[in-house]
Amino acid sequence: MKVKVGIMSFAHLHADSYAHCLLENPSAEFVGIADHDPERARAKAQQYGVQAFESYESLLASDVQAVIICSENARHAQLAQMAAATGKHILCEKPLMTMLEDGKAMLAAAQGAGVHLFTAFPCRFSPAFQEMKETVASGAIGEVLALRGTNRGVNPGGWFNDPALAGGGAMMDHTVHVADLMRLLTGQEIVEVYAETGNNMYHAGYEDTAMLTLTLQSGVFATLDSSWSRPKRTFPTWGDVTLAVIGTRGIVEMDMFAQYLVHYDERGGRIRQVFWGDNIDYLMIDEFLRVVAGGERQVLATGEDGYKAAAVAIAGYESVRRGEPVAVVY
């Protein structure tokens, strides 16, 4: 039996990757697409050879068992609650929410309806991260003392630059992946955040540069650079996910997307990194399908994981407002 899945909104660029993953996965039946923008729903449905639904309601009225939400960040809550109310399992793009109340409402809706709510944190599935986690757990580098992470990228533009829809700028967009990895790696919550943000890249009303300093429960400290600091036209790839763990006996450093070859593209007039590592989106969607079909969750991030990671970014904005380190409110 294939799992029937629909995608709610293609506002987020990751929707295209998930669509490919569904089409490639023998356990999935990609049923169709609904979108705020019916024109986009039609175009994407045609591109992927699936049904275009005229509204979210009509998609949810169909026999899909699960949905993937890829709307603008601020619309996640509304769509997740609609999906939960119709008994659909949910995989929601990150960040789960831009406001704590939204996240709480989403978790409550899923729990009340008895459906799964997962957060799209594919970095958890990276074989490099999994091996790093095992190395740290084995005690090979001793006691964990500090962490250093980055999730730098290119400014995606569009609604990502509208704080009303995105919930902020680079800090809202790029804090949660690595915050999630830090939680997963240490088994600890992030309790305090200090953030410095700037806008010297694009000189607009959202932050394009963000440097967070985090403190974990045990006093382990960490930094996380979530800036859109990669040059838009000339950088050879979209960005990075890196994490280093400093221990009493050694260090382990991960550069998640360093599995690339270099393409000097004469026709395109630029140099590109061509990634040849595993497709972590595929691994994530595959587990999502298995869990919807009744299997056990193993790596997939829960709604609560998404909530806790987003709460760190939200605390970052509070820190910027107050100009000092602040406790993370969950």
Partner: protein
């Protein structure tokens, strides 16, 4: 560092290393033998026998030697950091001005071509307005005969001793710092292990991030990236290497160590001291001023205070 500086001076036909002093006579003796330099029995004797004083003692003794040298009318080059405390730094600044001394804090990083080139590229607008700078420096814990690095009161730990290099480069390149926030292992009393993560906000809106490492068993490495609204510069000492040599260990497989190097006609210590000697001969102010030395220490001590108190420190 005394050895490094001596080797640089010996390449200069117009400079003679005239005399050496070390408060530990056995160290002075070893040095004198290695380089064929006469020994002064006390510091006053050293002052009587030279024109330039090069201070390479541990940080907490910089002021103790720099001040009398300045007061004796000597030109003085002093290892970084300028001094261990801000009070000592202020006294050195004041003495330099009072005696119109030619003085240079040895922030040698400014003479490392990979850092010097980046500075001038940024100044020339190669990356536009700077938004974010990341810098990393370090390797394993430094070992000295007296183990003075391990004494925070003497060295100031990884922030004051090591990443002050990057702080000076940042201040040189980006201008005034506004505030700093830092986390460090310095006060955890870990055995020969220190690590610091420092975020600095500059008045021009740029955010800099400096990682100081005295806990990486894989060896010394540095890197930086400078991101602006018109481009980005990056450098990584593990990648930009002109020469790698690997020699098989005696008796068969394994154990060989690869040694990376970037050979150059002039090493940065030579370039730094050549600049200083030229300034002494011309009677001009070195490009690294005593105030620069003061500002770097002030920023480093602010970072240490932040790491100690958990608070943002405004400059």
């Amino acid at each position: 560092m005394g050895r490094q500086h001596t080797q640089a001076y010996r390449q200069m036909p117009d400079v003679e290393v005239a005399v050496v002093y070390d408060r530990r006579p056995e160290r002075a003796q070893a040095f004198a033998q290695e380089f064929g330099v006469p020994i002064a029995n006390d510091f006053q004797e050293l002052l009587n026998r030279c024109d330039i004083v090069d201070v390479c003692v541990p940080t907490h003794r910089h002021a103790e030697y720099a001040l009398p040298a300045i007061e004796a009318g000597k030109a003085v080059v002093s290892e970084k950091p300028l001094a261990r405390t801000l009070d000592e730094c202020e006294r050195i600044v004041e003495a330099v001005h009072r005696h119109k001394a030619i003085f240079m804090p040895a922030h040698v990083l400014r003479f490392f071509p990979e850092y010097r080139t980046a500075h001038f590229l940024v100044k020339d607008g190669a990356v536009g307005t700077v938004a974010a700078v990341r810098m990393r420096r370090g390797g394993d814990y430094p070992r000295a005969e007296s183990d003075w690095y391990a004494d925070f009161n003497k060295s100031g730990g990884v922030i004051l001793d090591l990443i002050i290099h990057d702080f000076d480069w940042l201040l040189w390149t980006l201008g005034e710092a506004e505030r700093v926030y830092a986390k460090a292992l310095t006060f955890r009393n870990l055995d020969h292990l220190d690590y610091a993560l420092v975020t600095i906000r500059f008045k021009n809106g740029a955010i800099a991030y400096v990682e100081g490492v005295w806990c990486d068993p894989s060896g010394f490495k540095v890197n930086y990236e400078i991101c602006g609204d018109a481009g980005m510069l990056e450098y990584d000492s593990t990648k930009q290497v002109a020469l790698r040599t690997a020699v098989r260990a005696e008796g068969g497989a394994g154990g060989g160590v690869q040694v990376p190097s970037n050979p150059a006609v002039n090493d940065p210590y030579y370039l730094e001291l050549r600049h200083f000697v030229d300034c002494v001969k011309a009677g001009t102010t070195p490009e690294i001023t005593v105030e620069d030395g003061y500002k770097a220490v002030r920023l480093a001590l602010a970072a240490i205070e932040s790491a100690q108190t958990g608070k943002v420190v405004r400059l």
